[in-house]
């Protein structure tokens, strides 16, 4: 929790800093541990229940640890009509987890996102909040994962 304390020193403790604080701590730790939420509540002078209420209201925040790689499947309209459900299913089968879950080796977390705004490349996924892969087909999905997952785990 040393790191949380470090981050908090960059803020004054005003109420409107709450969401940015939560974002920074999640970027640092990958999720929001209970202990951190309690510290943030004390720091900003709000009840713990309130801090928890904010953290659960916004879909960006997570209360459980994530994998090293975050895979976000776009569920936007264009992606949906161009086969996003099949893409999601393919990734679920490949990683052997369901949407919202993390692989036991903490390598991958699979999530879906409302839209990443690359509709012209539908269907698409975003990995680690930066790499967008577009114009996917179930076959190409396997290619992306076997590239990043390493040979020993490649089951295809």
């Amino acid at each position: 929790m040393e790191r949380v304390r470090d981050i908090l020193t960059g803020y004054t403790g005003k109420r409107h800093e709450l969401v940015p604080i939560l974002q920074e701590i999640q970027t640092e730790l990958g999720y929001l541990p209970e202990e951190a939420l309690v510290m943030i509540a004390t720091f900003t002078g709000i009840p713990e229940s309130e801090a928890f209420a904010i953290a659960t209201f916004y879909s960006q925040f997570r209360l459980t640890p994530t994998g090293r790689n975050r895979v976000m499947v776009c569920r936007g309209t264009a992606c949906h009509v161009k086969g996003a459900p099949q893409i999601l299913e393919e990734i679920e089968n490949y990683l052997n987890i369901k949407e919202g879950e993390t692989t036991p080796d903490l390598e991958f977390t699979l999530e879906s996102v409302a839209c990443i705004g690359c509709c012209a490349l539908a269907p698409c996924i975003m990995v680690n909040n930066k790499d967008v892969h577009g114009r996917l087909t179930p076959k190409r999905v396997r290619g992306i994962f076997s590239d990043s997952k390493g040979k020993e785990q490649d089951t295809s």
Binding site: K14, R15, H16, E17, L18, V19, P20, L22, Q23, T44, A53, I54, F57, Y58, S59, Q60, F61, R75, G76, T77, A78, C79, H80, V81, K82, Q86, V113, A114, C115, I116, G117, C118, C119, A120, L121, A122, C124, N129, K130, D131, V132, H133, G134, P138
Partner: protein, 615 residues
């Protein structure tokens, strides 16, 4: 700040878009390779390789290289193509014809992008600089007339004159609701408080829309300039940009634009020596669709749960952020301001229809030949957009509907293709302008499934304070899911309508009031498809798994065993060289057999309805 040396004027400029779409298609690598290759050939002075914030909106062709001054376009450029492109600028070399865009209709090469149908019918105004300027270089914005409007406003106009000009232009809020911008500014101006705020709504949460992201990535200064002008007009000194956290590149470019604008004195105290001071901060949203609603957005910036305030609620222009008068406009609205100041209200109001002035920006996606970001005058017909700019439906499929306005909008069938679109005509047809998403669907899209998809989205995003929105949408979703599973009853259709009308009346904010739109409009225009699901137990579009079957055509099957080996539930029988048969009782309709059957045989077909073994 070190300014770029501009002593050598390049003969050619190569423009490479670096938006989120472009980068995902490999534009960064092409840029680096091209720059290196041109330098190696000793042409760095005569051929400038320039990064721009975006491509020219024809995202589907990414990565695109535009060659100015001729306006030539190379599409889908790969790193391997780079040496050939670089060499083509040597004296006596020929252009790389194979990289030209080829008309999907005639197959002929179209070298100049202005001749491509996708661009011909567009009227790029707000997007004018997107794809031409480097968003991370303020100099580039300045040489394209940037901050001239701000200078004019601060040194030559009173706030009242600015507001009058915006009012006269007829600009309406481009976030989707279409509220007259000038009136909003006036009401904020008249609010008697010393402290006021300007907020830019960049919480583009609608699935299927990406124009706000594109403007922020491609021309961030135009948004800042619009906000500063607005701050002067209403009397605010601080602005906030509420931007989605899912847009990391947009946030990065906005940050660098703000830093540069501060360095150049366009933000901060005493701008242009006018005595007026203004600053802007970014607030990254944390992912809640409902925060697009003004009162929810304001609460979210304050660090609270973004739940719309109960009625009767004062306007945000009177009681907004920290209970101070707050002017809230969309990205596109702010981006339009500089043009209205530069070119005048008359120029702006000469474009568009009687009640909707100017241009509309759409994200044209889905089942069209050309997808991308487009800007068209208000009043253009859907047909001109979909079949003119969009080039129609690919693969000889039939147009079925176009969905506008995202989860708050509705679907429009073929019979409405000739509707001239503006804020009012779309609302009258049961849809809306909304955020500008325009998703075209063909015969392969199931309208019940599409309605279910949107409701699934809004249901999850409901903040939960209005019972009808929270529970009613869940009820509707359950009914729709039942219909897609073949468990619907005929009475369900009327029940959906009743629930939908109830939710519209009984919800506090735009989310609930519009959530039933996709369902109501699909029932209005595609009732027969609902009935087919319920009465015939068939999904005509062959999308709803429970209401289709896979079938191997005996005459076409060669007994290659491809499908048999891949079937996860061993539902396919038949040995090598013997006709395969699917056991309909075992089949889970995963569709793997269809995808693995070699194209030259195409023996597996999907059919609407449930077959029983022996069919």
């Amino acid at each position: 700040m070190i300014r770029k040396e501009r002593s050598k004027i390049p003969v050619k400029t190569l423009l490479l878009g670096q938006g989120t779409c472009c980068i995902s298609a490999g534009a960064e690598q092409v840029y680096t390779a091209l720059k290196r290759e041109i330098a190696q050939l000793g042409m760095a002075d005569s051929v400038q390789v320039k990064r721009t914030g975006l491509c020219h909106g024809f995202c589907q062709l990414d990565p695109v290289v535009i060659i100015e001054p001729e306006g030539l376009l190379y599409s889908e450029v790969k790193v391997d193509d780079v040496p050939e492109i670089a060499r083509s600028f040597l004296p006596g070399e020929r252009l790389v014809e194979r990289l030209f865009y080829h008309s999907p209709v005639t197959g002929e090469a179209i070298p100049r992008y202005r001749d491509i149908a996708f661009y011909q019918r567009q009227q790029r105004t707000v997007l004018k600089n997107c794809g031409y300027i480097d968003p991370e270089e303020i100099d580039d914005y300045l040489t394209n007339g940037g901050y001239q409007a701000l200078r004019q406003v601060l040194l030559e106009m009173t706030p009242e004159q600015v507001i009058k000009q915006v009012k006269d232009s007829g600009l309406r809020g481009l976030g989707g609701a279409g509220f007259p911008t000038g009136r909003k500014w006036e009401s904020c101006y008249q609010a008697a408080e010393n402290e006021k705020y300007v907020v830019c709504n960049a919480d583009e949460g609608d699935p299927g829309a990406f124009q706000d992201r594109s403007i922020l990535e491609g021309d961030p200064h135009s948004v800042l300039e619009g906000m500063i002008i607005a701050g002067y007009a209403v009397g605010a000194a601080q602005g906030y940009i509420y931007v989605r956290a899912e847009y990391p590149l947009a946030v990065k470019r906005l940050r660098s634009a703000i830093v540069q604008a501060r360095e150049e004195g366009f933000l901060g105290e005493d701008i242009f020596g006018s005595g007026f001071g203004f600053d802007i901060e970014i607030f990254p949203g944390a992912g809640a669709f409902v925060c697009g609603e003004s009162t929810a957005l304001v609460l979210s910036i304050e660090g609270k749960r973004g739940m719309p305030k109960p009625l009767p609620r004062p306007r945000t222009t009177e009681v907004g952020l920290w209970n101070k008068p707050t002017l809230l406009n969309n990205v596109k609205t702010f981006a339009a301001i500089r043009w209205i100041i530069n070119k005048g209200a008359d120029w702006f109001s000469s474009i568009g229809t009687k009640k909707s002035k100017g241009t509309a920006i759409f994200s044209l996606t889905g089942k069209t030949v050309n997808c991308g970001l487009i800007e068209v005058p208000m009043g253009i017909t859907l047909r001109e957009i979909i079949f003119g700019i969009g080039g129609g439906i690919p693969d000889n499929k039939k147009f079925k509907a176009v969905q506008t306005g995202g989860p708050s909008g509705g679907v429009l069938p073929e019979s409405l293709l000739d509707t001239a679109i503006d804020f009012d005509s779309l609302t009258a047809a049961g849809s809306m302008m909304g955020s500008g998403g325009m998703v075209v669907v063909d015969e392969e899209t199931c309208m019940v499934d599409l309605a279910r998809y949107f409701l699934d989205f809004t249901q999850k995003e409901s903040c939960g304070q209005c019972s009808l929105c929270r529970l009613g949408s869940l009820q509707m979703l359950e009914i729709l899911t039942a219909i897609t599973k073949g468990e619907g009853r005929m009475a369900d259709i009327d029940l959906l309508i009743e629930l939908g009308e109830g939710i519209k009346i009984g919800s506090l904010c735009g989310l609930g009031q519009s959530a039933p739109n996709p369902v109501l409009s699909t029932i209005r225009y595609f009732r027969a498809e609902y009935e087919a699901h319920i009465l015939m137990q068939q999904c005509p579009a062959k999308r709803c798994k429970a209401l289709i079957s896979y079938y191997i055509v005996p005459d076409k099957c060669t007994g290659c065993t491809a499908c048999q080996r891949q079937c996860p539930v061993n539902a396919i029988t038949g040995d090598r060289k013997k006709i395969h048969v699917i056991d309909q009782n075992k089949c889970t309709r995963c569709g793997i057999c269809l995808s693995v059957c070699p194209e030259r045989f195409s023996a597996v077909e999907s059919v609407p309805g449930r077959l029983v073994s022996g069919d």
